[in-house]
Symmetry: C2
Subunit: 459 residues, 2 copies
């Protein structure tokens, strides 16, 4: 058995990475290109300029560079809340009676409460540098919206956030904190956009989805001079920015003299898992090591485990380029029974390709009551109240540690604790009072989602 290390390895601000790690640069087989939604041909760089800031478009399309320098101004902001700690779950290990060593990288120690801030500050920086005067985005559970509101407040950048209606209702304080940071928050679907009005005309009680909120946010700013849309997950640029998590993680694991057997992360759009795995996926892609990767998703929104690997729109309104990804179809609406985030119909094209090609070894769908059971146990022993999203990874890390208890294997398990649950008390309350239930979409519901997939001829 390895010697005991500290509870937490924190690093100094000098050890914050100075380059983003571009996983695409290490992939021999690149993700399939985005397609223009009209012509169904690979999108040219310039075609993305009306939507995103130009530097971000370049990052999005960059499949060759392995590292991209982090601007000093962005790094200065990172210093305000990073490096994030890597914590060994001594107490949880003891409670489980497992020989496994469990570590978690905790990204919740900033006001937005999650890793999303890592990409928010970069996206606002590049937009500001280009002279952009207003931004729009969507948010589901609210972490991304909060992170972006913080970054926009810092740069005096006006921001409109379309928040998935069911989340806005479940989490009024998430809305309030975004407003505290100066953002304008609109529940989606809304009467503000054509897309929103059309959806409401069809279904006035629609509780919303990330896909719809994305459509509305894009409609608000796309094509307008000095206005840009930004997105908190899914995109290649977001995984790029989040790579700092994995770079710190590797340094911290080395301080423990450890290399993971198992890397576990929740996956909604894929930004956290993509960030967490950056260095270790590089090792796998370059043949240096073979850590086992598990992507965990809600059984209620099972894009990896029950979706199709196909070209699809990133939004419900079908205005975005098409991405090749694991998807449930842009028309899929996750059940309102599902609390918290991880509600996206698709999945990061990079992670999708890595999963398809076997570099991500496994995807697992879990039920939310089992997730909250793990969350409560984790909170008790590790003194951190985890976000529901992060608790998907906790569930699987605990399950794997319990397997080790049976087999006697002392595996090294790392998972991403992407955020805290301070704004998720409503969900915890419904778990505690027994009103929370699980939801698994029927095959018919999935088929209805797949029916919304676009028909794309072979390239």
């Amino acid at each position: 058995m390895k010697k005991q290390g500290p509870y937490r390895v924190i690093l100094t601000e000098k050890e914050i990475p100075d380059h983003y790690l571009n996983i695409q640069g290490f992939m021999k087989e690149k993700p399939d290109p985005y397609l223009n939604p009209g012509a169904l041909k690979p999108v040219a760089l310039e075609e993305l300029f009306p939507v995103f800031a130009e530097e971000l478009c370049r990052q999005e399309m960059n499949v060759t560079d392995t590292y991209i320098e982090i601007p000093e101004e962005v790094r200065d902001y990172y210093k305000m809340y990073r490096p994030s700690p890597l914590i060994r779950a001594y107490n949880l290990e003891k409670a489980l009676g497992t020989p496994a060593r469990i570590y978690y990288k905790y990204e919740g120690q900033n006001t937005s409460g999650s890793h999303k801030l890592n990409s928010a500050i970069a996206q606002v920086y590049y937009s500001k540098k280009q002279g952009v005067k207003q931004l729009s985005t969507e948010t589901g559970a609210g972490q991304w919206g909060t992170a972006l509101a913080m970054a926009c407040a810092y740069y005096d950048m006006p921001l409109t956030v379309f928040m998935v209606k069911i989340s806005a209702e479940q989490k009024p304080y998430r809305k309030a904190i975004m407003e505290t940071y100066g953002a304008k928050v609109i529940s989606s679907p809304s009467q503000t956009t054509q897309v929103g009005r059309a959806i409401l005309a069809d279904d006035p009680d629609c509780t919303g989805s990330l896909g719809t909120a994305i459509s509305e946010a894009i409609e608000l700013t796309a094509g307008k001079p000095d206005a840009c849309y930004v997105l908190g997950s899914v995109l290649n640029q977001v995984l790029l920015h989040q790579s700092i998590i994995g770079q710190e993680l590797k340094l911290q694991m080395e301080a423990y003299d450890e290399y993971p057997d198992l890397v576990v992360g929740c996956a909604g759009g894929g930004s956290s898992l993509g960030g967490l795995m950056s260095e270790y996926m590089k090792d796998k892609l370059t043949g240096k090591a073979k850590p086992y990767f598990i992507a965990v998703e809600p059984a209620s929104c099972p894009s990896f485990t029950r979706g199709r690997y196909a070209y699809d729109f990133c939004d419900t309104g079908k205005v975005t380029p098409l991405a090749k990804m694991y998807t449930l179809g842009s028309g899929f609406m996750p059940s309102a029974i599902h609390a918290g985030g991880l509600r996206y119909h698709g999945m990061s094209p990079i992670l999708s390709k890595l999963y398809h090609d076997g570099f991500i070894d496994e995807a697992r769908g879990v039920n939310q009551t089992a997730v909250f059971e793990a969350a409560m146990q984790f909170a008790k022993h590790e003194a951190i109240l985890p976000a529901p999203e992060s608790s998907h990874a906790i569930r699987v890390a605990m399950d794997e540690a319990l397997k080790c208890k049976k087999t006697g294997e002392a595996k090294t398990i790392v998972f991403a604790l992407t955020g805290h649950g301070n704004f998720d008390m409503q969900a915890y309350m419904s778990y505690m009072d027994g009103s929370m239930t699980d939801y698994i979409p029927t095959d018919e519901e999935l088929e209805a989602g797949f029916a919304t997939l676009p028909k794309v001829p072979e390239l």
Copy 2:
């Protein structure tokens, strides 16, 4: 001008103090002793045993030892969330255009969201060690109750929390998070105790106060075998436990090559300020240095600035020993207009004595709208949403920094950022929508409070 240091100085877990610093041990003039509420004679150690765990009673009465060892088990828990960072407010300094250097010690990076966990874990540890089987306490804004619930969950200790009714209504999620950690939460005044029933009979709409909640919590457990009461502030033992803040602070300030001109902290019961100042007050008491200390309190609950230095009950029900302190009278009920904590009628006997004797240089009352204005500005520039309580210190730190701007003095200012505001969105919302108002008690209201002071003959 001093050279630029890092944004944050964090320290390693080895640098967590291994002894508590006992300010009383350094005071030549000790605080006046507690009095037995019946006989009005100084309380003997054993008289406290029916209320608190014995080791905690010893700490409470210990006016001679300068340092007391921290048990290894308690220190192990501290490692899960400490040392807390010291942060230089580079961005706030820049926004204010001040030559002052502003530092803040941030205690909000644990799930309870404040410094209160430092004492909670110690109190539960000593109680558990003595064989105590259940605990009771009160909570106002909810930080203490959450901290204690976390510590009790860790030690499998049943806990009942009496939560000030107005706070429970303003902050339903604070109640929920305590329940998540297994605590039973009762709004106070309640029908559960004789004290509560008597108050409700007199005033069914009573919104509660810390003094009342303390009475109820004591009534539930005092004198029962295997049951103890614990308190989150005011007491000498709590300041003792919180001294780890100030010990870390001094190490961190030395890493910046700094010694503070000005130390600013909010003061409700005094635990945070008492902890923050520990090392620097030691320097002042021993004649080594003369840092200037400012205690900041709400103008709506002005125990230091408009209270009397007199013997008073610590609770409304008049069951506790009498303490010599700055007090508004145990019958004083702070206006419901006041959001957040810092609602206690009295003040730490240690801080009271230090203020009376001139070692704490100044106390300042501030209005809550001015406090939230500072909080909003701080959040924007420093990326942390501060707790309303902490924002009292932010207000004064900013005011002092702006004075430096006028005079050109490059003062070194340190303040305590005692916690985050994630559970205070209702108060932020009322500030933003303009419905928050200020409240300053009239002289008549204060006189009514003073009329509840007990008559104590000269000792």
